[in-house]
């Protein structure tokens, strides 16, 4: 029988917003054989939050494919690593990480989104990699009302991403944005970071063999009270009434310090490699110093002994639990042999002058790796925490009940959709739909070309492309996808389509998709319907990833994306795809190149219009999402990659939101620039390629996937040779030297269409 809980602990439980449940607290007390100290209470609160422990999701995530010949490091550490290619006998890996900063961005959008970029960048840096790109899949509420909080969030989150990413000098090369009222109370700010590393020089997020007695070095910003309780905050639903207290859980970004910290860390990498020293390096995220130091040591099979008095702090009189668990940004932890410590401190503190960059920023030794597997914290001469380290960081598991999702089996009329709306009006309404309109007003605020390695910046291709290894012809592509209109209808199909779309976008730039990351954004898992959506999405992701041979190497789960009123976001599995180009000179961009080329549609028109923009524009309903026939699609992708390698594709664009005519417009619009010749499009009567299998609306506006490619007249024979025997290759028209989209016998002015397409987001992002 345990003694009653001390008064201080009871008071802390009452007032500090601890999210630990009473059964979890009882388990801690049973194992410790005593009541936890206040520091221990907060430590377990952070480590056992969903954010850190994945307690209700990990056993479902096991169903995702995570292995394959390209996987260098699967989902185990801060980032995953995929094999990109070889150059001069050296193997290069692409480091990739993906996470969400949804809750903070809803409450304090600038800081919330900026720290999202800051955090994900650290996950990549700590693998010993140079950070080469970021991407930002965004989901905002409806922004039509200029005075609304939703508009404020949508504008300010973008400003935060821009301010942070630009300042640290990492190009933003991919992203997407959707606006939907189901995100009114819970925006989604997902962030992806990518790095490059020689595979022989990877640094791991664990204390290496023989590390007992090594130094634990904390490096970066002085610890302050910001971000205390961040991990458990993100594992609760948002309640408007708590908004003020929630703000304190959001961290404060410092991209200026981060810029210097990254460069200093690269210098440390150089020093360690030169002297052939193995070390451990890990980012401080959820759970602060405690979470990071406990995980980096326990992952190596060790314990840790840390003196909180040695931590560089921004203000005196911080409580020990705040120093230990607060989530101050811009910090990392090294585990290194003591002999190396002076050199590392010198690089950070003297060469890169951290103490002069931000108040009391520095590298400092805070403790020691111990053989004994305990996690011990000292503060002002007292031991304030002393627990079994594996109990702290080990896997806890919540088997929550969930419902099998029930996809409505409505009786559907298979007849082609008939509307009274004229084609020109329909095209204009689709082009100016919030999910189709040009994203340029948003992404032109992001530096897409810093580092000088950008091959296709935002807007030039369906994926961003870089030449990541200077002096090597290797190329890497990054694309993102996840359609909330699908998430509303069918969580499983939404997962499948997110993978399909991300993979398709990689193929569309001529890059072979080699691996994926996921960020799974859902509602409260304690609601069996919401957890059911989560489980179903994973089935969909696993199905598609298996079919495309693209394993998941890292990811993140963001649950509790619902407001106190119970409004949850639509099922939002968001995917990033890494693509590889052996020779970046075979990259393919979206823009049409010349008049007189032949245009092909590669794909299969389907009658299902569920989740399409056109159905939304018409205010109709269709429960059917397009089916994915992998047996047809996979060979199409292989054929297109072969054609790209053979340099017979002048332009390529995947078909997504808005369908085929929108894709054609997007290929033509970039040519409408003063000083260059406009290129237009002449499209045949769709009967030529549908043969009546679907109606005109479905052919022109359906979103069943596929591609448009431009093939120059002189390459037609070569292309058709490569495409021989491939199902679903349809010649649909030609490029012309006038700024019109001519459909059968109707002609639309491309300038006018472009203006309608540009306008909606210009109002939000002037």
């Amino acid at each position: 029988m345990l003694r009653p809980r001390p008064v201080r602990l009871l008071a802390e439980l009452d007032t500090s917003g601890v999210a630990l449940r009473s059964d979890e607290l009882a388990r801690i007390e049973r194992t410790l054989g005593r009541a936890p100290s206040v520091v221990e209470l907060h430590a377990f609160d952070a480590q056992w939050s969903e954010h850190c422990s994945y307690k209700s999701s990990r056993h479902h995530l096991k169903n995702l494919p995570t292995t394959g010949p390209r996987v260098v490091l699967g989902p185990a550490e801060d980032s995953g690593i995929l094999h990109l290619g070889e150059h001069e006998g050296e193997r290069y890996g692409i480091v990739i990480a993906h996470e969400s900063h949804n809750h903070p961005s809803q409450v304090v959008p600038f800081e919330g989104a900026a720290t999202g970029i800051g955090g994900i960048v650290r996950d990549v840096v700590c693998m010993g990699a140079e950070v080469i790109a970021v991407a930002d899949p965004l989901r905002f509420g409806l922004v039509d009302d200029a005075q609304s909080h939703q508009r404020y969030v949508a504008q300010t989150a973008v400003d935060g991403i821009s301010a942070y990413g630009n300042a640290i000098g990492v190009p933003n090369i991919a992203g997407d944005v959707y606006f939907d009222e189901r995100f009114d109370d819970n925006c989604l700010v997902n962030v992806v970071a990518m790095g490059v590393v020689k595979e022989s020089e990877i640094i791991h997020s664990y204390a290496p063999q023989g590390a007992a007695g090594w130094d634990i070095i904390l490096v970066g910003k002085a610890t302050d009270p910001s971000g205390f309780g961040g991990a458990s905050f993100s594992s609760l639903t948002l309640d408007a009434a708590d908004e003020e207290s929630n703000k304190g859980a959001v961290q404060v970004p410092d991209p200026f310090l981060k810029n210097v910290l990254m460069r200093a860390s690269y210098a440390v990498f150089g020093y360690l490699r030169q002297h052939n020293i193995t070390a451990g390096f890990k980012d401080l995220g959820a759970g602060g110093i405690m979470g990071c130091s406990a995980e980096i040591t326990s992952a190596g099979g060790y314990g840790a002994d840390i003196d909180l008095d040695k931590v560089n702090v921004a203000i005196d009189s911080l409580k020990p639990e705040v120093i230990a668990i607060g989530e101050t940004q811009e910090r990392l932890i090294w585990v290194v042999p003591p002999a190396v410590t002076p050199q590392i401190l010198r690089i950070y503190n003297d060469d890169f002058t951290l103490p002069q960059i931000a108040f009391n920023a520095r590298a400092v030794v805070i403790g020691t790796v111990t053989q004994e597997k305990r996690y011990v914290l000292h503060y002002r001469g007292e031991t304030v925490m002393n627990v079994d380290i594996d109990f702290l960081t080990g896997s806890i598991r919540d088997e929550l009940p969930y419902e099998e999702i029930d996809v409505a089996r409505e009786i559907v009329d298979e007849a082609p959709l008939v509307t009274g709306v004229q084609m020109d009006e329909l095209l204009e309404r689709v082009l100016s739909h919030r999910d189709v309109a040009s994203r340029e007003p948003l992404y032109r605020r992001y530096d897409s070309v810093v580092r000088g390695a950008t091959v296709l910046p935002r807007g030039a291709g369906d994926a961003g492309v870089l030449a990541p290894v200077f002096g090597a012809p290797l190329g890497v592509a990054l694309s993102v996808a996840g359609n909330p209109r699908y998430g509303r209808l069918n969580a499983r199909a939404a997962g499948e389509h997110a993978v399909y779309e991300a993979v398709r976008k990689s193929v569309a730039v001529g890059a072979r998709p080699i691996g994926l990351t996921d960020c799974l954004n859902f509602g409260n898992p304690r609601n069996p319907a919401h957890l059911g959506q989560f489980v179903a999405s994973i089935e969909g992701l696993a199905r598609a990833a298996g079919a495309f041979g693209t394993p998941f190497v890292s990811g993140n789960v963001s649950l509790y994306n619902e407001s106190a009123g119970g409004n949850a976001v639509p099922a939002s599995p968001i995917i990033a795809c890494v693509g590889a180009l052996t020779d970046v000179s075979t990259v393919v961009s979206t823009s049409l190149k010349q008049a007189g080329s032949v245009l092909y549609f590669i794909g299969t028109p389907q009658s299902a219009l569920g989740g399409s923009v056109v159905i939304d524009v018409l205010g109709r309903h269709d429960p059917r999402l397009p089916a994915i026939d992998y047996d047809t699609v996979v060979p199409q992708h292989d054929m297109l990659l072969a054609a790209a390698s053979a340099n017979v594709l002048r332009a390529m664009h995947s078909i997504g939101n808005g369908g085929l005519l929108v894709a054609l417009c997007e290929m033509a619009f970039p040519t409408l620039r003063r000083g260059i010749k406009p290129i237009g499009v002449q499209v045949d009567d769709p009967w030529q390629w549908t043969h009546g299998s679907v109606g005109d609306i479905e052919a022109f506006f359906g979103e069943s996937g596929g591609f448009i490619v431009e093939v120059a007249a002189e390459d037609v024979e070569a292309f058709e040779g490569i495409a021989d025997d491939i199902e679903g290759v349809h010649e649909i028209g030609v490029t012309i030297d006038q700024a019109v989209l001519a459909v059968d016998d109707e002609a639309f002015d491309l300038h006018r269409l472009r203006d309608m397409w540009m306008k909606p987001l210009r109002e939000v992002y002037p």
Partner: protein, 256 residues
């Protein structure tokens, strides 16, 4: 002996690597010099200030960096006739240091690159800049053709040249506007200027011609892989496009 070029790294600089690489690919003997090693600078023959957000762009872009110890050496070198090139944030620093246009006292700027117009946001967009002076007017541009068009990326929040009317006239008439924004066909008008910069100015040069401040980044369009659609696919790793500007700079350094 080969002339050595220092690429300066201030706290907050972010474009040093690509600037260094392109200078080297254009034949320059270029080296990074970090702020904690400022005293090495006198040994170099030319200085390049790359892009970024030095000292967080506090007050106004470049305003604090202009007072960094490294700038003491740059100011001294400029006086001696060494070539000095500033790109983007580097350009802002040169204006704040008073080296460009150089018509006033040192560290008393007479003109500045200020918040973009019409909306005061950072923009990232591809541009063309056109040489607006006689190439021989500056050793940095001497290797270019008259009216040469150079591709570059504008990527800044503060790139709008501003000064009082009289001074702007002086800058215009005395050949301080080295490059202007242009359309791809070479036509110059306000619609080609992404930030409402006065005189459509993309770059300024000092009276002596040895210090040049350019806002857009030619180095980010400096290799064939940066513009795969614009040229043939030969030599994807070769310097091209904006590299022509850096070749001219390096030739100018070697000719001193």
């Amino acid at each position: 002996m080969s002339k050595r070029i220092a690429v300066l790294v201030f706290p907050g600089t972010n474009s040093e690597e690509e600037t260094l690489r392109l200078l080297r690919d254009c034949g320059g003997d270029a080296h990074l010099v970090h702020w904690s090693r400022a005293s090495l600078l006198p040994k170099f023959d030319a200085y390049v200030l790359p892009g970024g957000f030095a000292y967080e762009d506090r007050i106004r872009a470049g305003a604090i960096a202009a007072h960094d110890e490294m700038m003491d050496y740059v100011i001294e070198g400029a006086r001696e006739g060494k070539l000095v090139l500033g790109v983007c944030n580097g350009a802002q620093i040169l204006l704040e240091a008073g080296l460009v246009p150089g018509t006033g006292e040192v560290r008393r700027p007479t003109a500045a690159f200020t918040r973009n117009g019409p909306v005061p946001h950072f923009i990232c967009t591809h541009v063309w800049v056109k040489l607006a002076i006689d190439p021989a007017r500056s050793p940095i541009t001497a290797g270019l053709h008259r009216n040469e068009l150079i591709p570059a990326w504008a990527a800044h929040g503060e790139g709008r040249l501003a000064a009082d009317e009289t001074h702007l006239r002086e800058l215009d008439q005395n050949g301080h506007v080295a490059f202007v924004y242009a359309h791809p066909d070479g036509h110059v008008d306000a619609s080609a200027t992404p930030n409402q910069s006065a005189l459509n100015a993309a770059a300024l040069v000092n009276k002596e011609g040895n210090v040049l401040a350019i806002m857009p980044h030619p180095e980010r369009d400096g290799w064939t892989f940066n513009h795969p659609d614009r040229r043939g696919r030969h030599g994807i790793l070769e310097p091209s496009g904006g590299a022509v500007f850096f070749r001219s700079f390096v030739a100018g350094v070697h000719a001193r």
